[in-house]
């Protein structure tokens, strides 16, 4: 039988993390298997073909398309400078040279193609370099020829539920006293510049703006509001596909929308790693091939010493005693433990008939909830 899948986000003190760092198109790999790389190390690079300009020759020179090749002063592959004459139509007689028609290049780059069908030429700007950084500190364990590498590290690994903004790196700084405290503008100090600032239950737009002003690398919070997200992005986010926003920092929420206390384990792990460098990414893709935002803190030898614990999360499904969070109304955001899994289908208030479980909430009350409406959290 196919088993029920109860989603859960990884919050792991120590795990082996592997990251594939692949270029968008083929290029050159700069490192080899076994190399130690830092987050900023360039592991692969390539050249992105430059932007294209299409210039009509036929129109300005008043000729037919098939005459264009003969009027070109440059041929495919030739370099061109901005404003350089690339095509010219001379009159039949020299004394009419004032009638000479010319076409100038609008860009500096190369002539790529001359078309005798459309009477146009294609000019291309010089290629732009694209680099791929390691993003995490670790060892190169595999080279994908001409494409990139896989980097492996042992790290503290925390997944958020939603984020905006791309990959960044910064030292972790916990700015609030506990997971239930809202991160306010006054918590963010000038010394947080370049750091990943950790809040508690909520972050409002004023605190985010303060973070941008100070120049923090990222903010991590339990919750935020839909309204503030809209203000931050300047538009309503219709689909959760993020990671390319240019908002001045990377924002990562761990629990959801609204005021929601950050899970105790997440907060205490971040507190424990305070002062260490974290690689964070807000990239979220909630579709097939789900991508969640992440915090990766590569662990030094000293931190690894004394323990061989390497936790690998398994998708065993939920069982009695597991700590869970309720992820839909009623009791949204509340924590509890699974009291028992009820095998029979049950009818909810909405009359939907579903598989359920009984959860004992933190205040001691028992609550029957659809299995789809809980997620496992880690102790």
């Amino acid at each position: 039988m196919a088993h029920a899948y109860t989603p859960g986000l990884r919050v792991t003190k120590q795990a082996v993390i592997r990251k594939r760092r692949i270029l968008p198109l083929k290029g050159e790999v700069m490192v080899k298997v076994g190399d130690l790389v830092y987050a900023e190390t360039v592991v692969a690079k390539t050249q992105l073909p430059g932007a294209v300009s299409i210039v009509s020759i036929m129109g300005p020179l008043g000729c037919e398309a098939n005459e264009v090749p003969s009027l070109m002063l440059k041929k495919p592959g030739d370099r061109v400078e901005q404003n350089e004459v690339i095509a010219e139509a001379r009159p039949l007689f020299a004394f009419l040279k004032f009638l000479t028609g010319q076409v100038h290049s609008p860009i500096t780059g190369y002539l790529e193609k001359v078309s005798d069908v459309t009477g146009q030429v294609i000019l291309r700007e010089p290629p732009q370099p694209v680099i791929m950084k390691a993003y995490i500190e670790g060892n190169v364990i595999e080279v994908h020829p001409e494409e990139g590498v896989t980097v492996e590290t042992t790290a503290t690994f925390i997944q958020g539920i939603f984020g905006v903004g791309g990959e960044t790196i910064g030292e972790i700084a916990v700015a609030v006293d506990g997971p239930s405290v809202e991160l306010k503008p006054e918590h963010i100090k000038p010394e947080h510049k370049g750091k990943v600032v950790v809040g508690g239950s909520y972050v409002g737009i004023e605190a985010i703006k303060r973070g941008i002003e100070v120049g923090v690398a990222g903010i991590i919070s339990g919750g935020m509001s839909d309204h503030d997200l809209k203000s931050l992005l300047g538009k309503d986010l219709g689909v959760a596909i993020t990671g390319h926003e240019d908002i001045g920092l990377t924002l990562l929420i761990t629990e959801g929308f609204g005021h929601i206390e950050m899970a105790g384990r997440t907060f205490s792990l971040l507190k424990e790693r305070e002062g260490l460098r974290a690689s964070i990414s807000g990239a979220t893709q909630i579709r097939a091939g789900v991508i969640r935002p992440e915090i990766i803190v590569s662990l030094t030898k000293e931190l690894l010493a004394g323990t061989n614990e390497v936790v690998t999360k398994t998708e065993d499904g939920v069982k009695g005693g597991d700590p869970v969070r309720i992820i839909r109304e009623p009791n949204f955001g509340k924590l509890g433990r699974v009291k028992r899994l009820i095998p029979e289908l049950m009818v909810m208030e909405s009359e939907i008939k579903v598989r359920v479980m009984e959860v004992t909430l933190a205040d001691g009350t028992d609550f029957i909830v659809p299995r789809a409406n809980v997620e496992i959290i880690e102790d």
Binding site: A65, Q120, V239, A240
Partner: protein
Amino acid sequence: MFKKNDPDLKVILATDCGSTTTKAILIEKIGDEYRQTYRGEAPTTVEAPFEDVTKGVLNSIQEIEDLSGRTFLEGEEIIHPSRPDGTGCDVYISTSSAGGGLQMMVAGVVKQMTAESAERAALGAGAIVMDVLAINDKRLPHERIEIIRTLRPDMILLAGGTDGGDVSKVIQMGEQISAADPRPRLGISYQLPIIFAGNVEAREKVKETLGGKFALTITSNIRPTLEQENPWEARQKIQDLFEEHVMAQAPGYNKLIDWCSAPIMPTPAAVGLIIRTIAEKEGINVIGVDIGGATTDIFSYFRVEGKGIYNRSVSANLGLSYSVSNVMAEAGMANVMRWASFDIEEEDLKNRIKNKMIRPTTIPHLLDELIIEQGLAREALRLAFIQHKELAVGLKGIQQQRDIADAFNQEATGATLIKMMELDLLVGSGGVLSHAPRRSQAMMMLIDAFQPEGTTRLAVDSIFMMPHLGVLTSVHETAATEVFDKDCIIYLGTCFAPRGDGRPGDRAMSYRIELETGQTLEGEMSFGEIKLFPYGLDDKGLPLRGTALISPARGLDMGQGKGRAVKGEVYGGVVGIVLDARGRPIRFAQNRQDRVSQLESWTKAFNAYPERKGGM
């Protein structure tokens, strides 16, 4: 090897590899009829850590094995053809939308003509159209090139020019595609497939421009003349290339292709095929809708001057989980809230919708949450239907005089082909409709969103098996249509709704319905009212029948003109007969209190919800 339409075919196994779930069904010949007997499902395994679609397929088939007691698997292989010992199946077929389905860009010369024809062809083949490019799309060439480069489609369909017409414009578009040099989404090192379906005289130049750099396929012109649209060959090529190129790049698909007795079809293409088959077989006009978590697909088949015209649209960001936040953004809060008869803080509701977006698998526990979700469904369906009507227009298969100047000047290529008064059957599919706790909720959602006019039958797909049946039509049409009638479709009933507006309380129509059971329903309806008469199925599970005489008031039309009575057949269903005198379009009260009373009376007429236990 099996024969097409082989009467000896007894055991058919079919899977649909969706983005998140792989669904398997078993169809067996029992006596003289084909029936769907068992169903299994398992998470799709295209993505890491499995990266092999066949694992999910095997898991879903394993579930059928557990339920049916029949063995289909031998190790990691499907046994087919079946063996004398009663193991295996005669045919195994599959559809797929895993890994994001088929994502295409289309290009033409004139936006309203060849580009629009190309868009319809791609959609009809089951693709998601990422962008439509045309020489007159008001973008500069470098902007177009940038878009082509950024979007990374699976395939490009290039149309343009009528046969014997101008060559330069389509070559211009080809040059821009070549300059952009787009990389395929899947597989860094394979050539991007491009289908050229334009002016036959441009073929050699197109080969010069695009051949070598891309996997170029040339097919017949999609728009050979201004008055003709010819999408069939291009559609077929798209589907062939989908399997040969795109699917072959996705993890595990080579193995799956080998297992299948027929080509793997994109899921929406298969749904379209079964809808088309049913419409043609019954001689009716049909609209089908599949509302999912991320997208809403609408399929229509309408007869125009005796010729059937099939259209499909996909609203890529209208769905009830992944895209639910976009439904709210596009519909507007007021439109979502008009379906709720209780108060809720706007900020709270928005946060809840965002939380559904980021945790898309959760389900409504509370009644109010269900009501909100069904309100969002109405809006998603309404918006998707608007998009469908805008696409299902124009020249397809009909002769129409128009010159190129008209096409440049017009916003769209003519009137929509979707005539609600002529619609015979509306079929809903997707979790919110197929699994609504009460069938009357599904019927209400369909009526509210699509607002059928005149006489229309409504149905839902019981367990989302239309994709399986669609691909089955390519192997065994009889089996597909029999299962469609007996196991796939659940008839909800018939809706009678006059078109037009009126004043609340004024007479809207009178009715006299003689039922097969001998009972007669007779009465008058006031404008704004809606009534439901339960009228179900016979012993064989087929809808009970009857005849109805509906006489609309002077300003209202039931299909024969304003004020003119219509007489026709009525079919029962698991919900019954609906008399809807709310007008078309449905008129909502302006005042909040009145609107709430209105909603309460409508839902009460349908017995749609249990009594609410206080607010949220």
